[in-house]
Amino acid sequence: MNKEITYLDQSDTVKDRFTRLKKRPVTLNVKGLGKTFATPQGGQVTALKNIDFTVHRREFVCVIGPSGCGKSTLIRILAGLETPSTGEILLNGEPVSGPCPDRGMVFQGYTLFPWLTVKRNVMFGLLESGRSKVTAEEEALQWIDLVGLSQFAESYPHQLSGGMKQRVAIARALANQPKILLMDEPYGALDAQTRAKMQQYLMEIWQNIDITVLFITHDLDEAIYLADRILVLKANPGEVNELIEVPVPQPRSPDQFLSPEFLATKKRLEELIHPPEKNEEKIETDQLNMVRMVSVNDEVQSVF
């Protein structure tokens, strides 16, 4: 029998793919990024510290970490919605600051404009960039077609399901042809089935158009399924824990969820995010204080 494989073991094709990937031009370069917030009590909280990583062109990177590790702060800084305290962000070698359509963003809460139809939502950024109404409409319809919502072009957001709304949000961000697409737990509010479908759609879109994706999630399976590389953060302060090269070969399919590479990667992620507690006493404070609460003569004495 073979020895158990670990997440570091890559097949030759995967190894070869990563070598080629790393030769691609760098799209996003984050250098020494840090963020401190002032607390209302006058203290300071370090949300992010010394974050360094690069994302190559057309790469799919997932960011994952325990709650409170500053994932959302990181992506908001990258989108320009918050300013970093230290460090800099280079997009195609140019430093960036403030929000700009070359960094598209998809939010967890859809954030479609409820007063605009699907078509007009997608046209929003196109019109902002100074395109004429006719061109904007033409392009918008193409993007709507890409996410498979042509028949809903004239619907309002409240008439759509969650998954459809998020597809519109993706089309709206892609329509600006951003250099990188930032996604902040975009499927967090969706049910498992829709989520799986949406992951599939996203993979298809990513494979077929020139887009680099940075995707935040707290779902380990989602991260492994989607990502070329996974940036694992740790909490308090938010720092890079490890940058994992996912050994699952591309293109991905749902069958791979049980492949040895997939499971090995998941095991590693679990170790990183839920490290085994060293201090046994600490656990006791976080346990239910259960006593038997079933009447002695109850018909159903035990659930076993």
Partner: protein, 323 residues
């Protein structure tokens, strides 16, 4: 036929069934009207007065006069001792509480009765005056209040610039400016419009600023990542985003403007529906007074229902909350 399933009527925060809903809406008008009818038509419920039909031997009684029941009984007792002719009368309500049918009649007759003096106005002219005062007052207030409110709700700078002073000023009662308004603007419509503006404007700025601030911030962030800059954030996101809530605010504020109308119309030369009401009260035509008051209510309600209807048409993109 009125079989309301009572156990479902009091479910906490549950909508009533459409049938029950209609029934309860009708009841909300029917209850006060029934109460009024009971007091008016059931003689022994209240009727504290006696309307004299025959004065008898009481020197100061006249036919049609209203006297307190105690006085009437006392006089009757006195006369029964001296064997005089007893006065006769029916129990009646005070003159200030006309019966419903009188008021319904007054709805018609108050429009058809010629004013007592040539200089006085017909009721429809008075009503038209009032509507004009409200219209101009609310329009002028909104012309300034809505833009200022949106600015204050959007930019912290304007919020800090306007709101502290407005917060102070809105506590000054609008009618207190009556004398000043007359001194500056004369005695006709202008000072009345000014009072409505003063009464509405300051509330309007604060209410609309608050509504504007309630706009989901993530919509602004999304717009920014799509390339929207300052001006288009305001005109393509903030304003369309708050429009339906703003419209609802305006409906409520219009109601407030009506409440200032009565005070406003007493300033300078009394005019409009208020003049009609005070004049009719002076003539003791309380049926007309009631009719006029109810007319104000009806106008207000109808305008509000119309605005609500147009609102639903205008903002059809909103998730319909109750239809």
């Amino acid at each position: 036929m009125l079989s309301l399933p009572t156990n479902n009527l009091f479910a906490v925060r549950k909508e009533l069934a459409p049938r029950s809903r209609l029934m309860v809406t009708i009841m909300s008008f029917l209850l006060p009207i029934t109460l009024w009818c009971l007091v008016s038509y059931v003689p022994f419920l209240w009727h504290p007065k006696v309307e004299i039909t025959a004065p008898g031997d009481v020197g100061y009684f006249r036919e049609g006069m209203l006297v307190d029941r105690e006085v009437f009984d006392a006089e009757k007792e006195k006369l029964s001792l001296t064997q005089g002719i007893l006065p006769e009368g029916n129990r009646a309500n005070p003159v200030y509480l006309p019966a419903p049918h009188k008021v319904v009649e007054a709805f018609y007759t108050s429009f058809t009765t010629e004013p007592r003096r040539r200089s006085e106005k017909w009721l429809h002219e008075s009503l038209w005056d009032s509507i004009q005062v409200i219209f101009w007052g609310f329009l002028i207030s909104s012309l300034f209040g809505v833009p200022l409110g949106i600015l204050a709700g959007t930019y912290d700078f304007f919020s800090r610039l306007f709101e502290p002073f407005i917060e102070f000023f809105r506590y000054l009662p609008a009618p207190a400016f009556g004398a000043l308004a007359v001194a500056i603007l004369g005695i006709h419509h202008a000072p009345k419009i000014a009072i409505i503006v003063i009464g509405t404007f300051f509330q309007q700025v604060l209410v609309i600023a608050n509504t504007t601030r309630k706009l989901d911030k993530s919509l602004l962030e999304a717009a920014q990542t799509l390339g929207a800059k300052k001006r288009s954030l305001l005109f393509r996101v903030v304003i369309p985003g708050v429009l339906p809530d703003l419209y609802r605010d305006m409906r409520i504020l219009l109601g407030w403007a009506w409440t200032y109308l009565i005070v406003a119309e007493l300033i300078g030369t009394s005019s409009g529906i208020t003049w009609f009401i005070t004049q009719q009260a002076r003539y003791k035509n309380f049926d007309n007074v009631f009719a006029a008051i109810i007319m104000i209510g009806i106008i207000g309600l109808v305008v509000d229902l119309l605005l609500a209807y147009f609102g639903r048409r205008l903002f059809s993109w909103q998730k319909s909350s109750n239809s």
